[in-house]
Symmetry: C2
Subunit: 168 residues, 2 copies
DNA sequence: TCGCTCTACTTGCATATTGCAAGTAATCTA
DNA sequence: TAGATTACTTGCAATATGCAAGTAGAGCGA
C-alpha cells in the first residue's frame, strides 16, 4: 500500500533552506544523478546499478518523495504494466549546474576515484555551454523535446570508458 | 566531554557522492550559510540568530563535524576564553558558487519569502564576478587576506534591508 | 492453464540521527 | 563574591536509515 508522505513544516522562507529541505539528505541527489547521468529510468535499474548500494526501501521512498515534490514523473511502461518509467521534470533538469558545481567541489576538496572524476572534470571544463547542451539533451530524453545534435551523455560516457581502459 | 565522531565508510569515489557525504544533511550547509552570509562567528550567535531554529545539540555536533572535515577552524576568543570563534576555510569559501546555485534553484522552484530571496536574486544576477568578489571578502574576514575594495556582504545586507523596509 | 521466474515494491526490526527540554560548568560582571 | 551569561551536554522520544526477508503482481514457456 502506498502510504501518504506527511509534509514537514517549512523551517524558513530562505531559498537555500528550501532547496535543502527538498534535496538535503544523503540519497535524493544520488537518485537524480543516476537518472540524469546514468540514464536509469526504472526502479530495477536504479537499484541494481547503484554505485553506492542504495537500499530498496530508501529508493522506493525517494522515488515517491521526489515525484511528490515535482522533480520526477512516473508513467507506466507500456510493455510491462507493473513497471514505472521515471522521468526528470524541468525543475530537476535545472539542477544540472548545481550537480556540476558539487562535482567540481568534490573533485577539489575530497579524494574521489580517478575514473569517476573524469566526468566531473569534463563537466567543469565544459562550463555553462556544455551544461546547456546537456540540459537540452535531457529535455529530449525526459520531456519529449527534439533531439539535439550534440550528445553530452555520449561524450561523458566515452571519456569514462577511456579512463577505465587506461586504468589497466 | 567531547565524544569522538566515528567516520562512516565512504559509499563510493564519485565526487558528487563525496560532496554529499560531507554536506548532504539538513543542517551543515545552513551553518555554513549563516557564517558566510550572516557573518556569525560564535556558537551563541549561530544559535540565537538562527532563522530556522537549529537545536543546540545539532549545532554543537555540526560545528565539530565541519571542523573535523576541514571546512571550519576554531580559535579561542582572546577576550572570552570559553568562547570559540569559527572561521571558514578555503574549502568552505569555495562553496560560494554552490550556495549561489542552490539559492537560484530555490528561488525558481520553491516558494521563498520575498525578503529572503532578494539576496539570492542579487547573487544570481551578479554571476561569477560577484561570487569572486565575495570570496575575496571572505578570505579577508576568515583567512586574514587583505581587505578588498568591494564589500559584497554590505551590498547584500543593504539590499535585504531595503526589501524589509519596502515591505511596510 | 499451470507453474516458474522476475520484478516492483513492502514489511519488520535493529541502529543511527534529529529535536526538544533541561542541565552543568566555566566565564564574565557588578 | 553573588548572580547572570554562555558554550556547550545529556536524556529521551520521534523519526530516518539500513539490512534481510517477504509479497503480489506480471511475463513466459509448456
Amino acid at each position: 500500500m502506498r502510504e501518504t508522505i506527511l509534509p514537514r513544516p517549512r523551517r524558513s522562507g530562505c531559498p537555500i533552506n528550501l532547496t535543502l529541505e527538498q534535496l538535503g539528505d544523503r540519497w535524493s541527489l544520488i537518485v537524480i544523478r543516476d537518472i540524469m547521468f546514468g540514464n536509469r529510468r526504472t526502479y530495477g535499474e536504479l537499484l541494481a546499478q547503484s554505485e553506492e548500494g542504495i537500499a530498496s526501501n530508501i529508493l522506493a521512498d525517494r522515488l515517491k518523495r521526489l515525484t511528490a515534490a515535482g522533480l520526477l514523473t512516473r508513467r507506466p511502461d507500456p510493455g510491462h504494466r507493473q513497471r514505472g518509467i521515471y522521468s526528470l521534470t524541468e525543475a530537476a533538469i535545472q539542477l544540472v549546474p548545481l550537480l556540476a558545481h558539487m562535482a567540481a567541489w568534490g573533485r577539489r576538496h575530497t579524494r574521489p576515484s580517478k575514473e569517476l572524476s573524469v566526468r566531473a572534470e569534463l563537466l567543469e571544463k565544459g562550463g555553462a555551454s556544455l551544461w546547456n547542451a546537456f540540459m537540452d539533451e535531457l529535455r529530449h530524453l525526459h520531456l519529449g523535446a527534439p533531439r539535439p545534435a550534440r550528445s553530452v551523455l555520449d561524450e561523458l560516457q566515452r571519456a569514462y570508458e577511456r579512463a577505465v581502459a587506461r586504468r589497466r
